[in-house]
Structure formats: structure tokens, C-alpha cells
Amino acid sequence: MNAAPPVSSLLGTRAAALREAAGYAVGRSSEANVAQALRVTRQVNRRLAFSGEHTVIALAGATGSGKSSLFNALCGTQLAISSVKRPTTGRAMAAVWGQTMPGDLLDWMDIPVRHLMETTPAGLDGLVLLDLPDYDSIVTAHRGEVDRLVAQVDGLIWVVDPQKYADNALYEGYLSRFKAYADVMLVVLNQSDRLAPADLSAARDHLRSLLAAAGLGKAKVFTTSALNGAGIDTLRAEVAALVKSKRLAATRLLHDVESAALLLAADLNRERNRRVSDTSAVRLVAALSSAAGVAQVADAVRLATQTRGTTLTGWPLVSWLGRLRPDPLKRLHLEAFAPAKTAAPGEAGVPTTAALAGRSALQVSDIQQAQVSTALRNLCDDVSRGLNPGWAQAVREASLSHEHTLADELDAAVTTTDLGTSTPVGWWRFVRVVQWLLLTVAAIGLAWLGSAPVTKYFGISPLPLYRWHDIPLPTWLCGGALIGGFLLGILVSFGVRASANHRATAATAALQAAIRTVADTAVLTPVNTELERYARFVAALARALP
């Protein structure tokens, strides 16, 4: 470990990054790839938790190529059984060079048969050599053991022989998966004694070319004979060099991490700065506003304001008729829930039953619902262009995360928004006073005019009838005040209309702000959170890769 901090520290950061990336990718990227990434990070943790002083190298190969014989040759004793009968080796066996037996490590690898070597030749201290079963015989159980261990060991020596060195089972079944590990793998052409020297070098060259064609040009090729010992020393020296570097475990795991990360990164769109665009958001808010009935409410506000204004400021003789009209806001169960400041007496402020239940009487039509669905879909399409299907699906699901409560949230937003209709406009009261004054004046005039028979009946002297332009003053008073009130009513109605429009605009703005908040919590935030997750995934993956 201490000899090579770069590899092991690199391994630590990359494995952590891979685990992070896999965590983000759960349920989004291909299940198998995520599982593989998690498996690899677990493997890294486990392997690093064990002795860093030991390097596990396995002899792997076809049945009868001489793995057990080579194992014995390297051990210098007949530990493994080798035989002409095939297949012979059924379970892996370990030989350990050094002071201690790495029990935990071998337990983890599930290798019960282990031997601690008595003598330790120079350079082999720390080597754990494994003799594996075959992968190509009719005993398929052997293949399972090989596959399991091949994934766990630190280094591999592939043993082939003159008859089997070109077998497809080796290349398609194993080597093609180990391209990335070529630099830390050895390939041994055993049974060299069976070939004439010229044939041997021809076969070795051919083996090299086959390896190169399979993408393993970097693998070192040796020739040995377990029978006569040729090439065994060279092989042992090469193994010793691998053991001495103490980097084999970390290098192998690093390759594992890299391969798993590459799997996750396959056909990945690396664009990270994905956010819902302003145009999409605006379109969504517009659709939501329409669905929430903002226009309808604004119309009601306009109409209600106008009705109330006219009722208040109109000519009192007719304006009371306005009270008979249903208040459009009340009809929507809206007014009561506006945070009433000083509700005009008798006008609003008495919550209806529907309003108490917290629902407006606004009806969301299918058209509006359809507009919302379309806006949501377009927003997702827009933001997940080029995204892998799994991630695009996650974005879509995020956009629909509040699907079932959206209508209620929108309604709540509308019902709790202050529509600004709870109080009459200030000048309305003044006009109202003026109107009543005028009406009083008219009444006085009328009373004056009507006083003549009364005075006469009671024998009182009649009230003086001043005239102006030949018309009695009370007539002036009565007629003038009535006409004045009527005219004022007409005049003021323009103002009322302006107030109504103003209040409708203000209500629209307030409603839209409330709906924007709903859009944020129900759609934009979930979608952006998912996009953020994607960005983190891509970033973590980039850190896991060289």
C-alpha cells in the first residue's frame, strides 16, 4: 500500500465517485449497470479492508492445460492433483508465501483449501497463488467457481496449451471481458515440451497475434513446461515482480471501477446545465392560470367591483336594484376567503358553506386540464431532449409528482389570494354621501312643495315660495338635486368602471403570483431537482473515469 499511494488514493476517490454516481442512477440508468457499479464499489471496500500485504494471483485456463501442474511447479511441491483424467480440479486451492495466512481474505474468497509455504523464495513474500478449476469442461459447476474467483482476484495468469490456445471459449468467454486488464495479466503457453522449438516460437507468435486481435496486445506471453521445468523460473520472476510492486490489487480494482463507470456512461448525454427554461415556465404558468380560472375570477372581480361601486355611488333611487343581483364572487365562493380587512357591512364577509369547505366553485374544464397536460408534457420534452430514456422518464415522473393534488393546490391558491375586493374604493363613500345629500335636498324641496296643503289645512301661513326665473325655489331644489344625483351617478360610473378594471388587473397579478408559487412547488422544483440529480450523476461519473 505504502509503496504506491497514487494508485490506491486514486482508487479511493474513483470508487467513491462511482458509488455516488450509482446512487444517483438508481431507477434511472440500466438496472444491470447500476447493480454492477454497486457490486464493484462493495468489492473495492471489501478488498481494501483486507491485508494489503498480500497479492492474490490465480492460474486460470482450460481443462488439462496444466494449471495444477504449473501451480505445483511454482510451489515446488505436489500440492495440487494433476491428472490425465479431465477435469481434475474441482475447487480452488491456495498457496501462501510469507509469515501469515490471510485467513479473512481467503474466507472472503471462499477458498477453504490453503497452504502456508514453508520456505519463502526471494520476492514471493505476500503471494497468494490460486489453482482454479477449468471453465470449458462438461462439469458446468466448475465454471461458476471460476467466474466467481476471476472477479475477485488481484491478478490472473491465463494458462493455455498448444492444442487449446485458440479456443473460442477462452476469447469470447473471458479475455474479451478483460481487455482493460491486459497490462496486469500474464498468458502462459504451457506444455512447450510438446512442440519442436521452431513450432513453439511460431505458436507463441500466433498466440500473441490472437491476443492482439482480441484487444489484449499488452498482455505478456510466456512459454513454460511444467513437465521439464522450462520457463518456470522466468514466470516465477515475473510473478515476483508483480507481488513486489504491491499495486496489483489496487490496479485491478481501478480497472473494475473504470469498466463499471464506462458501462454507466455508455450513451450518456453529458450536458449538465439542464433547467426548465423561462419560456416553458411561463407557458406552464399560463396554462395553470387558465386552469385555475384566473380570467374567470378577474371577470368576477371586475363585475363585483362594478356592481358594488354602482350600488354605492349610483343614483340612490335606482342603485339599490344592484343589490338584488347575485354577487359573481360569492357565486364562486371566493369573496369570503379573501383575507377580509374591513368587510363592508352586509356585502361580504359571511363565509358560505362551500367556502368553509375550502373549495371555490370554480370549475376546471377539460380544455384547461388538457392545456395543463400539454404544457407539462412540452416542458418535459423540452428539458429532456437527448436524455437517456430512463432519465427522461424520471423527469416526466417528477413533472407529474403532484398530478393528483395539483387541482386542489391551484384552488387553494385562488381561494387564499387577497383579491382586493373586501373594501369599497375610498372615494365611493364620499360620492355616496354626496348622493344622499342630494337626495335629502331633493326630499326637502319636495317637502317644501308639498307643504302648501298641509299648512293650509292646519291654518298655518304657507312657507314662503321664493321664485327664481319664475320657478319656485323648492322645485329648483327638488329637480336640481334629482338631476344632479342622476348625472353624478352617470359621471361616477366611468370612475367605477376604471376602479373595476384596476381591481381586476390587480387581482390577476396577485392570482398569477400565487399560481407561480404552485407551479414552483408542484412542477418546477421537482423537475429541476431531478435535473440537478442528473447533473450530479454526470459530474460524479466524470470523477470516476480517468
Binding site: T63, V84, A203
Partner: protein
């Protein structure tokens, strides 16, 4: 009879060549390979063999790379006809060795038509090197095949093809390879289809001689191949030319010579393998048919999923169109404008008084505003249809995505997940056309009645609009405050229409307009759905093929049985050499020794001995379990003439 069988089999071959299993179902990969292999076997072997039962017996020497097949063939012939070597694999083109008298059987494309005949050594996987060899008996051909297990894919393919076309397998393995999985896959297959088979255990070193042959025998027994003759060839030093000492192969050579000499035996071999191949073809055809059925059902499910998604869309739209959904906002505003006073209808109750009805009859309407109502109604419909189409596409795509077969299709056609590019335009056109229909309806109806003056007053556009509104709220379904507004609106529209056309006519008009809308929406959605069905259609799955397969398989089976009856006298399990010949008796020769006595043996056994013609004894041919009483010395080879003679009166099918 044979003609009938031939015809049925070539029909079957044609069908097999047309098998297409495009959906990635669990059964698909294997069945496609099976179909290709069966078609190839029928063309390469079964059909030509049926046509020419008297053609020479083709023994294919097959097995693992490096087992020594080429060396063995050369050694059997005592002459290098095919290259052997240390580089694996050496043999890449098959080499066919036959007696020159048999040349006419092989130089045309009767069997293995896919291979180009050549006289020179070749490495091309599609070449077949022809080697006439006088020392080989007439009526027997040896084929040195490429290996079954090396990295060279072409070798593995051609080796399978050749073994499928063999009358007899000489399956070569070695002491190093005898428990490899891949050769055993082939042997198991051979057992399954009752190929006549001999196994050669080659390159057995002295230390293995006691153990390995017995172990191999055990493995053969376990796999139902107990009857198979096993030849053990010791590992010897080859001559400079790469030939094995003669003693090592003499046993095998005499077995072959015996077989070649006995025409009945040969024919029995031919018939057994042929019948096995046909029987297996029948069985495998059923599996292929099942795989096609699986494809059909998977495609049906996918089609049904997509259809369900669009049916749901049509259902939603039809509800929305009639439940008053469209009678809101813009449509109502325009309608109110049209009938003059919005306040009036807003306060209008659902129950309209008789007086108001009268009043409506005289209603003054603004004809130009009718168009506005239609536009508003149209844009509402447009929104609904656009959403319905998109949602249906999404639902259908989701269903496909949940299905492995569908997922593949969806990956190839990602555009399916949304409505087609032309959908928006198409739906606008649909709505426009429907509105034109409605106006036509109204105009036509108006012509019949003499109400032209009143129609002119309301305007065709306005009446069309009224009819649309009437339809949109026809089933009611409105609740609460909506009834007051929309309900009132429809009543107004209804009264307007009834005042002009009368109420039965209005009902008919509405029904016609509604039907037309439904039909147009159906058509619109159907053309969207067609994108999915087109993808499925392009898969080109032949739904009727499974039935044809079952029929053909049954027919072939019947004809095969009939033929079996007529040839019953000649049938039976092919006999094997006597047991003593199967043991390792040959001494291990040195290279020099073997080179010396090599010629002698060849001269004595294969070349110079003039074959005596032993007439074939058809009736007395081997019954199961007996062994022919032949030794190498007694071996007789038929001349070409005698072979012809024998075939003329010999066998009829």
C-alpha cells in the same frame, strides 16, 4: 412416395427460409438459428440424399481444433491430402476426398451447394477442396472439416453445416479434450437425431492409455451413446510428412473399409442418419412454429396495447365533446356576443319561461358573430384533441416500453412516444371539415323547410354555432353554477334551432352532426394509431406460418412413416465393428518403422487388392445388436459397376 416426401420437405425448406422472428423474445434467437440450420441441412443434405440414395456415403471427420483430424485423414489415406499444423486452427476450408469413380457425385452442386468447388488448397471458408483419391473405396467419401471450437467463427459455422450434412460422423477428440463441453454438445445432438457415429480418441499418451479411454467410454454411456464404436489412437511421433504410423490408424481404416465394402451396411447407415435428420427436422419445426406463434402473440399484445391507448383517447374526447366541457370561457363569451346580451343569458334560469321562448323566436341576432362562436368552439376542440392524441401516444409508448419486445421497437422509433408531426395540422383540418359539415347540414335542412327568411335572419353561421353548442351540452352532466350559465346557453341555442326547424328536425340534425364528429375524430386518431400498427406490420411476421408448419410437419411425418414401411427390411440400428477391434491393439511405432511398413499396408488394403463383388443381400441385413462378421482380410470393395448394379435392383423408396 419419395417424390411426395421430397416435395413436402422442399416446401418445408422454403418456409424455413422465410422465417422471420424480429421481436427479441426468449424463443427467438434459438428458433432463428434453428430455422436457418434446418433449411441449410435440408438443402445441403436431406433433399439431395433423398433424391440419390445410392450416392457415396459421406463420412465427415469433425471435432475440436488440434485433435488431429487432418493428420488422421492423411494417415488413413497414407498421403497428405489436407494440411495439418501446429498453428490453431490449421484447416479453414473443408477437404473432400473420394474415389475418382465417384467424382460425378461431388463436382456439381448437388450437395453443399453453398460451397465453391476447388482443386487447389484453400483457406476460404466457402471453398470445398476436391481431392480424388484412388485408394479410397468407391462409395465412400471422407471430408476433413474445420474445427468446431476455435476463435475462427467461420470454422465453427462451416463445421456445423458439414456435420449436419454427413451420413456418418467420424468425431475426433483427443486425450486432452475428451471432456470439453463443446464437443459434447455436438455428440448429444448426434445422439438426439440418431446419426451414425464413430468416435476417435486421438493422441492418447501411454500414461493415459489405461484411464482416458475408459473414462470417455463412461461419458458416452452416460449420454446414451453406449453403442458408438470408439477408436483409440495412441500418441505417436508423426513422420516428416506429418503422417501417423500405419498401425495407429489401421483399425479405423479397416472399419471404414468394411463399411465401404458392404453395400447394405452403407445403405443402412445412409437411411438411419437420413431418417434421424428428418425426424429431428419435424420436431424442431414445431419449436420454430411455436417461436413464430410467440411472435404473433407478442405483436398482437403490442397492437392491442396501442389500440387500447387510442380507444381510451376516443372515449375521453367523445365524453368531453358532449358533457359541456367545451361550453366555457371563450365559447360562451362569443355566444353571448352573438345573441346580443351576455347579462341576459347569465341571469337566465335553466327553466325558461314560455314568454322568453316566444321572445327568442323573434331574437335579433348578429350574423357575423356566429363565425366567432365557431372559431372559439373549434379552438377548444383543438386543445382537447391535441392533448388526447399526445396522451394516447404517450400511453401507448409507455405500454410498449414495459414490454421487452416493445421496448426494442420503441428505441428504434422514439418518435412514437408523441403525436406525429402532422397531427396538429390534421386535427385542425378535421375540425374545420366537421364545422363545414355542420353548416352544410343546417343549410340543407333550411332549404327543405320554407324557413329561408328566418335562417337568413339568424345566419347559417349562427345556426351552425347553435347546433354545435347544442351538441356540446347534449348529455347534460353539468353541475352547480355551470347549469345556470351553460345550461341556459344550450337552452337558448336549442330554442333558437327549434323555432326554425322544429324539434324533431333538430334532434336528427344534432345526431347527424354528432355522428360525423365522432367518425372524424375516430379517423384522426386511427391515423395516429396507424403509426404503431405500421411498425408492427413492418416486422413482417407471418401469422399463418405456424399453421403451415404444423401441416407440413404432419405431412412429412406421415410420408416418412410410409417410406419406413417400404424399406423396413433394410432398416435397423447400424452395426458396429466387433468389440475386439475397438481396443487399443496397435503397437506404438517409431516414425522410421511406420514409414517403412506404411506402403505395404496401403498396397495390401486399399489399392491393389482387386475387390470381389459380393452381391448385396438385402433381406439378410443386420438386425439390431448383431455384429457383421467381417475382418480386414475379408474386406471386399464393390467396383463402380457392381455398385450401379446393386443400386438398380437394390432399393426402392
Amino acid at each position: 412416395m419419395a417424390a411426395g416426401l421430397e416435395q413436402a420437405l422442399s416446401e418445408l425448406r422454403r418456409e424455413l427460409m422465410q422465417v422471420s422472428l424480429p421481436l427479441p423474445l426468449p424463443t427467438a434467437t434459438e428458433a432463428s438459428t434453428t430455422a436457418v440450420q434446418l433449411a441449410a441441412q435440408l438443402g445441403d443434405y436431406v433433399l439431395p440424399r433423398l433424391k440419390n440414395l445410392e450416392a457415396p456415403l459421406l463420412a465427415v471427420v469433425g471435432g475440436s481444433t488440434g485433435a488431429g483430424k487432418s493428420t488422421l485423414v492423411n494417415s488413413l489415406l497414407a498421403r497428405v491430402v489436407t494440411r495439418s499444423g501446429v498453428l490453431r486452427p490449421t484447416t479453414k476450408s473443408p477437404v473432400l476426398v473420394y474415389n475418382p469413380a465417384d467424382e460425378h457425385w461431388f463436382d456439381d452442386n448437388r450437395i453443399l451447394a453453398g460451397l465453391t468447388r476447388t482443386r487447389a488448397t484453400s483457406d476460404a471458408p466457402t471453398a470445398l477442396q476436391l481431392v480424388p483419391e484412388p485408394s479410397l473405396p468407391v462409395g465412400l467419401a471422407l471430408l476433413d472439416a474445420p474445427d468446431i471450437d476455435s476463435v475462427v467463427t467461420a470454422n465453427r459455422t462451416i463445421a456445423s453445416t458439414l456435420l449436419a450434412a454427413a451420413d456418418l460422423w467420424l468425431f475426433v477428440t483427443s486425450a486432452a479434450r475428451y471432456s470439453d463441453a463443446i464437443p459434447w454438445d455436438f455428440l448429444t445432438d448426434a445422439a438426439a437425431r440418431a446419426v451414425v457415429l464413430a468416435v476417435v480418441l486421438n493422441r492418447v499418451p501411454p500414461e493415459a492409455a489405461e484411464i482416458v479411454p475408459d473414462d470417455l467410454r463412461r461419458l458416452l454411456d452416460e449420454r446414451g451413446l453406449a453403442e458408438v464404436p470408439l477408436f483409440v489412437v495412441p500418441e505417436t511421433t508423426a513422420t516428416a510428412a506429418g503422417l501417423l504410423p500405419d498401425a495407429a490408424v489401421s483399425e479405423l481404416r479397416s472399419w471404414l473399409a468394411t463399411l465401404a465394402a458392404d453395400e447394405n451396411e452403407r445403405r443402412a447407415v445412409v437411411l438411419q442418419t437420413l431418417d434421424g435428420a428428418i425426424t429431428q427436422t419435424i420436431a424442431k419445426t414445431q419449436a420454430v412454429a411455436q417461436a413464430i406463434t410467440d411472435q404473433v402473440s407478442a405483436a398482437t399484445v403490442l397492437g392491442a396495447d396501442a389500440t387500447a391507448a387510442y380507444q381510451e383517447a376516443a372515449r375521453i374526447v367523445s365524453t368531453q365533446v358532449s358533457d359541456g366541457s367545451l361550453l366555457r370561457g371563450e365559447v360562451l363569451a362569443r355566444w353571448h356576443e352573438y345573441i346580443g346580451t351576455s347579462e341576459f343569458t347569465k341571469t337566465l334560469d335553466a327553466k325558461v319561461s314560455w314568454l322568453k321562448e316566444r321572445f327568442l323566436g323573434l331574437f335579433r341576432v348578429a350574423p357575423a358573430a356566429g363565425t366567432q362562436v365557431q372559431l372559439a368552439a373549434g379552438s377548444g376542440l383543438e386543445v382537447l384533441l391535441a392533448e388526447a392524441g399526445d396522451a394516447a401516444a404517450e400511453r401507448a409508448a409507455q405500454a410498449w416500453d414495459d414490454n421487452p419486445a416493445g421496448r426494442n421497437l420503441l428505441r428504434a422509433h422514439p418518435e412514437l412516444a408523441r403525436s406525429s408531426a402532422s397531427y396538429q395540422a390534421a386535427l385542425a383540418r378535421t375540425i374545420h371539415e366537421w364545422q363545414a359539415d355542420v353548416l352544410n347540414l343546417v343549410a340543407r335542412e333550411g332549404k327543405d323547410k320554407r324557413k329561408t327568411a328566418r335562417i337568413a335572419a339568424a345566419g347559417v353561421n349562427g345556426l351552425g354555432a347553435a347546433l354545435m353548442l347544442f351538441i356540446f351540452a347534449n348529455t347534460g352532466g353539468l353541475t352547480g353554477a355551470e347549469v345556470g350559465v351553460a345550461g341556459g346557453t344550450t337552452v337558448v341555442a336549442q330554442k333558437l334551432l327549434e323555432s326554425i326547424f322544429g324539434d324533431t328536425a333538430v334532434k336528427t340534425l344534432a345526431q347527424t352532426a354528432r355522428d360525423e364528429l365522432a367518425a372524424r375524430v375516430q379517423g384522426l386518431l386511427a391515423s395516429e394509431l396507424a403509426r404503431f400498427t405500421k411498425v408492427l406490420d413492418e416486422l413482417d411476421i407471418d401469422t399463418r406460418q405456424p399453421r403451415r408448419f404444423h401441416k407440413l410437419a404432419a405431412e412429412v411425418d406421415t410420408l416418412r412413416r410410409e417410406r419406413e414401411l417400404t424399406t423396413a427390411g433394410q432398416r435397423g440400428t447400424v452395426l458396429l465393428p466387433p468389440p475386439e477391434l475397438l481396443s487399443l491393439t496397435a503397437p506404438v511405432h517409431s516414425a522410421a518403422e511406420s514409414a517403412a511398413d506404411f506402403d505395404d499396408i496401403v498396397d495390401a488394403e486399399l489399392v491393389e487388392e482387386e475387390p470381389e463383388n459380393t452381391p448385396p443381400d438385402v433381406t439378410e441385413t443386420t438386425a439390431a445388436g448383431t455384429t457383421p462378421d467381417t475382418t480386414p482380410d475379408a474386406t471386399q470393395y464393390p467396383t463402380p459397376d457392381s455398385l450401379d448394379a446393386a443400386t438398380e435392383d437394390g432399393v426402392s423408396l
